[in-house]
Symmetry: C2
């Protein structure tokens, strides 16, 4: 006897309910092998439903192999279909890093002004990309990304950063993080270790095994090849020469030349992560390391800072011998980055919107930076030191004699202010225990006022 309790208010169709109940009974051995199901007419009448409902449910069971049919006789349960059901544990994952409803003012670094994203211009470009592109563009395509965007980028990079490259040397990635991730896979196949700057961006650190890397402390000009280990083969150097993350140092040309010479002597590659080069507030755009030796330097950047991180569009300029291996790694990572986004970005650059937006944001960020430094000097006077050159969307502030321990961070968070310790981004936490990384890109002057006031209230208590 098949007992089925139907729920006539359920969103689930009656056919689906009948099917699911019978299946459940089979899997749980309530209906045994070779047992005959009631005729569809009989079951329909018992359940007071239309016969077609039962016929459809029976057909599904048959098609999936739960039953076999004997012509003129009916449906029978197949053999060996009993399966004990497992207990399901509840998922327990710590997502707290992203669930910050209690945070009113976040000094998280690397976040641009999200509310100033040029929505109308972007949407215009997106609409055009959607309606004006050949539909063949919407299948699978080049792992290296859309040719039109790569061409536009090659022009753009030449004009803005003095970078000379062919469009086939460019690979579009899902943010610069994917570029670095592909490179970390590439370096695993090389003979030698990879040098990372210290302090560093911990996302990059996490891409490498500890035994594959050397953390090299920077000085006031960034990485110094004179300090590199003499007895270890180095295959790559990953660095941020124009605005070191997080310290904000800029490597002058003499240091850059030493780095290139080191790379040539030791046959290694340099990865130039140019993550916020668009924003410099002193009078000069420092040129790229890439132009000094395009066959030794991998240039890497993204639109995360100049547009917004959630677009996940980045790119690399590769030495010619790396095009094929990186291309293959990208293909087995995700085939290619989303294409409509690439076609949109292509138009966005070609229409001059990118330049306009950068120009506008540069003056916004310059003001915010100036305001933040003014506030810090006002509240903390000679107890605070600001590190790094005038660029980007974050600063490093060192508070003399203070230690940012968990309890302090927590109590500041309790007042709705999120701050980042530099000590979480280094192998030498003691050296940087008094340093904060303060992102200001996404904070208005009013928010900066409030945030620094709250920070002062907490730090003041400690003195």
């Amino acid at each position: 006897m098949v007992y089925i309790k139907l729920d006539r208010n359920s969103k689930e169709s009656l056919t689906k309910q009948v099917y699911r109940h019978i299946k459940h009974m089979i899997l749980n051995n309530k209906l045994k092998a070779d047992e005959k199901l009631p005729s569809s007419r009989k079951l329909a009448s018992e359940l007071n439903i239309s016969r077609i409902v039962v016929v459809d449910a029976y057909e599904n069971l048959l098609a999936e192999g739960y039953t076999y049919a004997i012509k003129g006789s009916g449906h029978y349960i197949n053999k060996n279909l009993t399966l004990e059901r497992p207990q399901l544990p509840a998922p327990q994952v710590d997502f707290s890093e992203f669930e910050q409803e209690h945070i009113e003012i976040s000094f998280k670094s690397r976040i641009p002004a999200l509310d100033m994203f040029p929505k109308a211009k972007w949407l215009k470009c997106y609409r055009e990309a959607l309606y004006d592109s050949e539909s063949t563009s919407f299948g699978y395509s080049y792992p290296s990304g859309q040719k039109s965007l790569r061409k536009t980028l090659a022009d753009h990079l030449y004009k803005k950063r003095g970078i000379k490259c062919h469009e086939d040397q460019i690979i579009i990635t899902s943010g610069s993080v994917q570029g670095l991730s592909l490179l970390s896979q590439y370096f695993k196949t090389c003979d030698g270790k990879v040098i990372l700057e210290d302090p560093f961006n911990y996302t990059i650190r996490d891409m490498f095994e500890k035994n594959e890397t050397i953390y090299q402390a920077i000085d006031k000009f960034g990485l110094d090849p004179d300090n590199f280990p003499k007895d270890t083969k180095i295959s790559g150097i990953i660095m941020t020469p124009s605005h070191q993350y997080p310290m904000g140092t800029a490597s002058p040309i003499s240091r850059r030349i030493e780095l290139i010479k080191y790379a040539r002597q030791h046959d290694c590659l340099i990865v130039e992560d140019d993550y916020d080069s668009a924003f410099r507030y002193d009078n000069s755009p420092v040129e790229s390391l890439h132009e000094l030796d395009p066959e030794r330097v991998i240039y890497l950047d993204s639109f995360s800072k100049v547009m917004m991180p959630s677009l996940r569009i980045g790119y690399m300029v590769l030495p010619t011998h790396m095009i094929e291996p990186i291309y293959k790694l990208k293909r087995i990572s995700d085939i290619t980055s989303p294409i409509l986004n690439q076609l949109t970005m292509d138009r966005f650059i070609q229409y001059g919107y990118l330049d306009q937006h950068i120009q506008k944001m540069k003056s916004v960020y310059k003001r915010r930076r100036h305001h933040l430094i003014g506030l810090l000097n006002h509240y903390f006077t000679d107890q605070v030191t600001i590190h790094g050159v005038s660029a980007g969307i974050h600063i490093v502030a060192e508070f003399e004699g203070l230690v940012f321990d968990n309890q302090l961070i927590k109590s500041i968070e309790g007042d709705g202010v999120y701050i980042m310790r530099l000590s979480d981004n280094t192998e030498y936490p003691d050296k940087y225990k008094s340093h904060l990384i303060l992102g200001y890109g996404n904070l208005t002057e009013g928010q900066l006022d409030k945030g620094i006031k709250i920070l002062h209230k907490h730090l003041n208590k400690l003195n």
Copy 2:
């Protein structure tokens, strides 16, 4: 003497040109260490340009460390700035796979009808996602993807595929390829080998080292655990149980239960790649393997077939113990998938547009499938065998006695028709030398007519 040839018609500013020329002379040792630059006044007059142009160029050179300034005296070249320029090779990469201008009719598999993408509905959802979302959504977010989309998907999967899961078990990926790529990295950390179906999708094969995998030939019900090697530890099985790619077999419930029992006995995981389950033309949607044991099965799918591949949106449903490790792998791969696309897809599903589109496409593809099979039977009569159940957007056709060698493929391509050999997707090419994978999703009935006629012309010559 500084000789600079200016191009007044160049897009490059005069300041940039002056700066670049002097820099070039320094790097190439034409201006030596401690040599003094002419005064800005003098150079401006020589070049017949405004003095401010030269002043700006000099400031850039100073800021970048090419020169040093002595107050009241002028600008001098810094030491050690000579750098020999490297020769640049031209990039030579074979992109021919994606440059198919000569192909008029492509039987490439896994491509849906790209010209039927519901542009207006998608754009409506995109606009809403852009304008109605909190701007805080546009920074960095959960590596697992937008919570709203994960919730919507959890509902959708329950209704469509009988999958019960919590939204935190879902991770949004850039297509199912990224999901498989993350899993391949996960399996590298496990003790044991991974079983792949043979024939397979070569993109998946390429994610694994040869010594990490076992290619297991399928039979008419897919993978048979009775044939798995007895003396090798297996950590994972990657399979397409509802519609094997490419052969099109469907595993009945008895085989599914055997697979689950195998996985339990040998403590291994099953990856259920459900790549085209939305399209079944017989009367039943075969249920997922996942529902039989959600803690042993990773369910994986994408919107590439039901929407279009270029969106690059896929997802996985993970057993609870895998959430954290996969979450970490995703974070260091690309942080998160593009967010606006996720917010758009969320609305697209919630408004019922996805269901409508699938419904519509199902009848389109069913017609195309029927038409293609009709054509094959018409032209090749009893020389052709169609493999697989009635589902998806491709078929496998076996042409008795024929061998698809390179020359044959090339001559068919010469007539504008692209076909895929099954033998490129197997470790046993001899077994499948007479088989073609024919994708019909993106071909109209007229194109199918023309394509199969051309195919027949070429194959007929051989008999």
